[in-house]
Amino acid sequence: MATPDAVPAPLGLLAELTHRCPLGCPYCSNPLALDRDHEIDAATWARVFREAAALGVLQVHLSGGEPAARRDLPDIVKASRDAGLYSNLITSAVGLTPQTLAALADAGLDHVQISIQDCDEASADHIAGYRGALARKRAIAGEVVQLGLPLTINMVVHRANIGRIEPMVELALSLSASRVEIAHVQYYGWAMKNRAMLMPSRAQVDEAVRQVELLRTRHHGRIVIDAVVPDYFARFPKPCVGGWGRRSINVTPAGKVLPCHAAEVIPGLEFWNVGEHSLSEIWRNSPAFNAFRGEAWMQEPCRSCARREQDFGGCRCQAFLVAGDARATDPVCHLSPRHAVVEQLAAVREDVAYAYRRT
């Protein structure tokens, strides 16, 4: 495939510093095959950050696994700041100490996002597969606010907690968060494995969407409520990662560069590594990034659809995982000839034990 003439400038870099994590959330966004053998060092991350900034990246999302599992996290944060990037720590807060947090604030960290599994303690700890998780998260959230850092609470929503949107937002308010994300589970990797256990009903989803609207009005000016839509119940697909190879770069713990965190599920894509190529070379020329750039790869109904510049045909990983073809229209779209498959999957609910993600 020809390289498109104008390759856009990326905006965000998702830096998966490690796949190690003390928690076992059954919807973890890490791949089923975790990077275990090798983690690139802080000096390599520093180079990646400089190359990212030169490409136009403005924000780096320091994620994992649990990024605090890396002892050199303060060095990594400092390197992102030195490169001129806005740094966002995406953490479970478990394994993050007040001392480390203070060092991160000194190193120039801009923002902290803490995941909370539920407002009900027993349920939260059960979902995380970690006793005492919620208590630790509350304590660290307090430290974040104490240090004057802005705090976002991220709440992943699924069948076990979808009825508690209101108290979850209340919890975020009580922790002095300035922002809360109500993120319905996206079914990839571990979440796909646990799909029947996580899937809410249509009635629950409708009520949850209504609740978010009500809470936005009630708390206007006090907390920002952002929502990630439950896409199996949507009419149109999400503009996944803002379009393939348009805005986002994902670097795995071992230095492999992906257009999105789930991209490795698509067979036949060739990913390049920061150990062998500069980020700029990878962004512009690597086969994986060019695989679904532009519109030449699209099939009908996307190819002639008025929305193709808005949602880019949806998610390539979901097209592969559900429709069996990475070039197909995301089957979440009601215009997809395979949309019935999504409706069938959304109707499967089984109360079984979670398959916890384990490192």
Binding site: Y86, N88, H111, P150
Partner: protein, 96 residues
């Protein structure tokens, strides 16, 4: 529900909180406002207003300064400033 605009009185000293900052990006085509998991393009007027939101100057001083710098009617500048800052405060991107 409290309106942020109502708190923007003449003696308020607005400032960007930690985690919200202006930056210049050649690759992204100019000034941007960086915030928690969000990026906004900032036009010239927005940049001129936000550069003055240091927590030191009062709203009245900011408006006077802008009216002088742009030789524009004070009332219009005041309305623009309160509109912008009120919207940012509602999004938790400005401290009043």
């Amino acid at each position: 529900m409290d309106s942020s605009a109502a708190r923007l009185t003449g003696d308020a000293r607005p400032r960007l909180p930690r985690g919200v900052r202006l930056a210049q990006s050649e690759a992204q085509g100019g000034w941007v406002l960086l915030a928690p998991e969000r990026v906004f393009k900032a036009d010239t007027i927005t940049v001129e207003i936000l550069k003055r939101c240091t927590g030191v100057s009062t709203l009245d001083e900011i408006v006077d300064d802008l009216a002088k710098a742009f030789t524009a009617p004070r009332e219009r500048i005041h309305a623009d400033v309160v509109n912008l800052l009120g919207a940012l405060a509602d999004k938790k991107l400005l401290e009043v």
